[in-house]
Symmetry: C2
Subunit: 336 residues, 2 copies
Amino acid sequence: MRGIRVDRRSILAGLLVSAAATPLTGGALAQGNPLPSWNEGLSKKSILDFVSAVTKEGAPDFVPAPERIATFDNDGTLWCEQPMYVQLAFALDRVKALSGKHPEWRRKQPFQAVLDNDLASLAKAGEKGLVELVMATHAGMTTADFEKIAGDWIASARHPKFDKPYTDLVYQPMLELLAYLRSNGFKTFIVSGGGIEFMRPWSERVYGIPPEQVVGSSIKTQFKIDNGVAQLIRLPAIDFVDDGPGKPVGINSHIGRRPIAAFGNSDGDFQMLQWATLSPGKRFGLIVHHTDAAREYAYDRKSPFGKLDKALDAADSNGWIMVSMKDDWKRIFGFQ
Amino acid sequence: MRGIRVDRRSILAGLLVSAAATPLTGGALAQGNPLPSWNEGLSKKSILDFVSAVTKEGAPDFVPAPERIATFDNDGTLWCEQPMYVQLAFALDRVKALSGKHPEWRRKQPFQAVLDNDLASLAKAGEKGLVELVMATHAGMTTADFEKIAGDWIASARHPKFDKPYTDLVYQPMLELLAYLRSNGFKTFIVSGGGIEFMRPWSERVYGIPPEQVVGSSIKTQFKIDNGVAQLIRLPAIDFVDDGPGKPVGINSHIGRRPIAAFGNSDGDFQMLQWATLSPGKRFGLIVHHTDAAREYAYDRKSPFGKLDKALDAADSNGWIMVSMKDDWKRIFGFQ
């Protein structure tokens, strides 16, 4: 897939579709070492200090448990987004799987490009082409059928570099962070530019985040009774793009409370980080910086997937913690 | 407000704006008598039997705790919706409160009708007029400001018949039902045609349902940085109508799981009841029928607020439990 050149917004517009917490009110639970895959240093210390500050009853920065909302981007923040967004790999695989029923795709772009692995032509199709791919692969079935299709794919597809299921390519330090926050009364949410229905079939199993705590981009659905069974049909029309300035909107719509902590890795998370941190009270913002070409990938300002540019420049003045995956993380994935 | 004649859909389109659970996996918690305000009878027995069936591990109808999703309509199901939707009373009060800054409203419908208490003219303004009222009273401020306005109003306004705060006019038997379901591992959600932001400021305090478990109608919002503070501005544009066939759509968007139990009182809940019950597996649907003119109100097929007609006819064939407030409930409100 090297050589593909489309910007992040185009891809997300195209991909448009697609926790159980035990709240405690006491002081921060240390549990020995709650973040064993994090190296000692400023990043780890900042997390521990923040959690300690907001969970100490009577202290100036105490936040009651129901208001301890933490939001996490998914692609590049909780799991690997290279060499392409996982959901794009899913869409391309679906085009191939469905091509037998669509002989016309052999002579129609952008489908022909997908079937020929012609990445240059695919890139040329731009946002319009990606939306076409998504509508052809993510709409036209019931929500239940899509859940099964997405769930089956994620259970069988493998990452091209690591030769592992994509759900093995979640960041072990972030899993520890999610669990640590929940053990301190936080409610953890995914807020992703990816498709809400693409993540929900496995978010609870992989992250401990139940479907109702997943926010994402969506296509429209329509209610229908079919042979006495109530169904929702997925329509080929964009409903909501949960990216950039859409993230605070999606957070407000789904959560109804401003997060006190937000975690991202790209410019698509810029406004979510602002929404969480540019407000009175103790706040926490963190950016996962992909600096480890050996154990994962190294990229930021020029990456078509997970471009980090504007938010990188703004991190310092906003007090956002920059996590260097290479330096701050003892290991990246659980299997390492 | 008697004499106003507008249909439910118009009102909801106009009003467009605007839980902490401890999951257990064992058998149903009896807790002595968990529903003390319910008379013995078919309604109460059906609830107890359903909860027992889905919580008994190893039994054929067992449902794992994370899938025990229960959705509740608000107006007329959890609290009183007569002589008008509470949110409509709020909108009318806001027009009066804001009229000093809008001298033009004295000569402009539908505002003039509100200021003159001219209900006939107000009714004539129809859906378009109601949308105008809502946009003038629910938009043009930040989400934080609206939360304060709605919260302040709900803390001070009083019901015209009972002379109590509206939040005292929640149904005691339904509060017990919410708590009973949560104590049996259910996650309880509000799914209302009313404005999502109108309910969230008090839903946790009154119902034990946190903001992130409230689904409702909404207007659009826009992200903005204002003097270094991140804000969401409420725009005068409809985003989503969570009523009728919109309820399954809203449920899918916010919850991502099909409820196994749904509770409503009007035709606006018809498709939510179908969505929850017309699907394989053990399911439960319940309609609160307003039959008690002495202790509350008696209405159904012809009421402009909470019209129950189509869903009344369909209850029997769908196995939905019809609760008669007069016969099934020992008391209606906690203060009685």
